[in-house]
């Protein structure tokens, strides 16, 4: 009997974790194939340090082919374009249509049959959502290693200008009203400030944080409350303190309507318009699904059955529209199985959240200025592992998935660098439980105060360094890699 074929689309944190555990747990019971358009794994949290010139891209990238060749995982460097979950008329074998991205073979069609499919395609960086946003426009990004390297080179040029006596304006934050990943923008601005001090030019810099958050410290999670110094304190207090201490200015509740050279046009939640000028801008894009389509066996388009309008894949969440007051922890998916096809899962950023975590807000013009929910890093990896476990069980005869990884039932540990130096550096070490607030279990703030914690200091920086090396080791799938937690 032919071995079951498990195909994973994407080799980011979720996809790579899924692939590794599927191979480890299934051994020779199944074929495991990863389809990813890029040849490398990127440890994205360390892109921040590439973006300020402290690391080179090669130090955060890991070529996938040697890892997969050594571990017995098939690797196809290709971009998935169309899912055929019912196969085609006359052949019910489900398959994925993909296009090669191998140099010299770009665009060649590939057909990848599967018995189980994990969609871990991550986000499309939707720079086009804001005119002029992104490396092809007038701002920089740290979302990929090459983007981060370009940011570092632009920073070097700015520093040179400051050394010549020119004052420089830096604008860091979110480039659209629906952005997520504010943590990355936070890390970049505080690392930028630290680096400018280290290079002796801080006095020549005006640094502004621009964000779609209602208040600083929201991070797309509705903020967190932390017990400290005899008070339960909301995260905006800590974040404002960090910024004020470093002389950083902040602008909140902002949607960027467009960028021109050195100028960002803004719309605010109260309906007002504004503008920020800059010499260097690092503004994150909003995320969308990667644009996968789905066809039924007759070739009819069923994309809207499988995917939300955002392009992210529908899974076992409650997607019924409901007002903020009716949101429940139970709305969030637990097994990440697609309701339409039990052999189809989504992991990491690729799954469609049922709704934001932060309270949704619109300007009087109807522009949504609400952070999207984060689902990077630890939750992505935890989801990827749970999906792998469930596929193993299903292959071995289980009737339905039993392992769960709801973001409303799991915690997250996050370390946000605030300056990289082994003796003078600091990082904010944060734990939250659960990631999605559960006001039925924890009525006051939605989270368990015993497990929701935050602290800034050198120890956090040491942990960040440790995590960089541990997770790259884990991604290489070297001996005992699976003992390293997600």
């Amino acid at each position: 009997m032919a071995r079951p074929r498990v195909v994973i689309l994407g080799a980011g944190v979720a996809g790579h974790t899924s692939a590794g555990f599927l191979r480890k747990w299934l051994g020779d019971e199944a074929e495991v194939t990863v389809v990813s358009p890029r040849p490398d794994y990127n440890w994205i949290p360390s892109n921040i340090w590439v973006g300020v010139g402290l690391l080179e891209p090669a130090q955060v990238l890991l070529p996938l082919q040697p890892v997969y060749a050594r571990t017995g995982i098939q690797f196809l460097q290709a971009k998935a374009t169309v899912l055929h979950p019912e196969g085609i008329e006359g052949d019910p074998t489900a398959f994925v249509e993909a296009e090669s991205t191998l140099p010299g073979k770009e665009g060649e069609p590939i057909r990848v049959p599967y018995d189980f499919l994990v969609n871990a395609t991550g986000p499309k960086l939707a720079f086009e959502a804001t005119p002029g946003l992104g490396p092809k426009g007038h701002s920089l990004s740290v979302c990929t290693a090459p983007h981060a390297k370009a940011a570092a080179l632009a920073l070097d040029e700015a520093v040179e200008r400051m050394r010549r006596g020119e004052r420089q304006k830096f604008l860091v934050g979110t480039g659209h009203g629906t952005c997520t990943c504010q943590g990355a923008a936070f890390e970049y601005i505080v690392n930028l400030e630290f680096e400018l001090r280290a290079r002796g030019v801080r006095h020549q810099a005006d640094i502004t944080y621009l964000t779609n958050e209602f208040q600083l410290g929201d991070f797309g999670m509705g903020g967190v409350h932390i017990q400290r110094g005899g008070y339960v304190t909301p995260s905006n207090i800590f974040t404002e303190s960090l910024f004020a201490e470093r002389g950083l200015r902040w602008v909140t509740q902002a949607h960027v309507t467009g960028l021109e050279r050195g100028r960002a046009s803004l719309e605010f939640l109260d309906g007002g318009d504004g503008e920020e000028t800059f010499d260097l801008a690092m503004l994150l894009p909003p995320f969308k699904g990667v644009g996968l389509r789905a066809l039924d066996r007759m070739g009819a388009d069923i994309t809207d059955r499988l995917f939300a309008p955002s392009g992210f894949m529908k899974v076992d969440a409650d997607y019924a529209p409901k007002p903020f007051g009716d949101w429940r922890a139970a709305d969030w998916p637990r097994t990440y199985q697609a309701p339409a096809f039990p052999n189809l899962f989504a992991a990491g950023i690729a799954f469609a959240p049922p709704h934001p975590i932060s309270r949704p807000r619109q300007s009087p013009k109807g522009t949504s200025i609400t952070p999207a929910p984060p689902r990077t890093g630890m939750p992505s990896a935890t989801i990827g592992k749970a999906v792998a476990r469930n596929i193993v069980d299903l292959i071995r005869g289980a009737k339905e998935p039993r392992h769960t990884a709801s973001m409303a039932e799991m915690g997250a540990a996050c370390v946000a660098s605030a300056g990289a130096n082994p003796f003078r550096g600091t990082a904010a070490a944060i734990t939250v439980f659960p990631i999605v607030p559960d006001f039925e279990r924890f009525p006051e703030h939605g989270r368990d105060p015993r497990h929701t914690f935050g602290e800034i200091g050198l120890a956090g920086h040491w942990i960040k360094i440790l995590l960089h090396h541990l997770f790259l080791y884990k991604a290489k799938m070297r001996p005992f890699w699976s003992l390293i937690p997600e």
Partner: protein, 56 residues
């Protein structure tokens, strides 16, 4: 005569004025090696607890 402040400077001044600031002791402890070695252990233990709660 005090030089006139730009709107940018006024905005920055107001934000910083109303924000909580760390004391000298807090800033010292953030990079004090012995204290941070202790905090390294504490934070790691807290993170391990969170990781263990995340698996079902």
């Amino acid at each position: 005569m005090t030089p006139e402040r730009t709107p940018h400077e006024l905005s920055q001044q107001a934000q910083a004025f109303f924000a909580t600031k760390p004391t000298a002791l807090t800033r010292f402890l953030r990079t004090s090696i012995p204290w941070q070695m202790y905090r390294f252990l504490v934070i790691n233990l807290k993170m391990v607890r969170i990781i263990r709660k995340g698996h079902h």
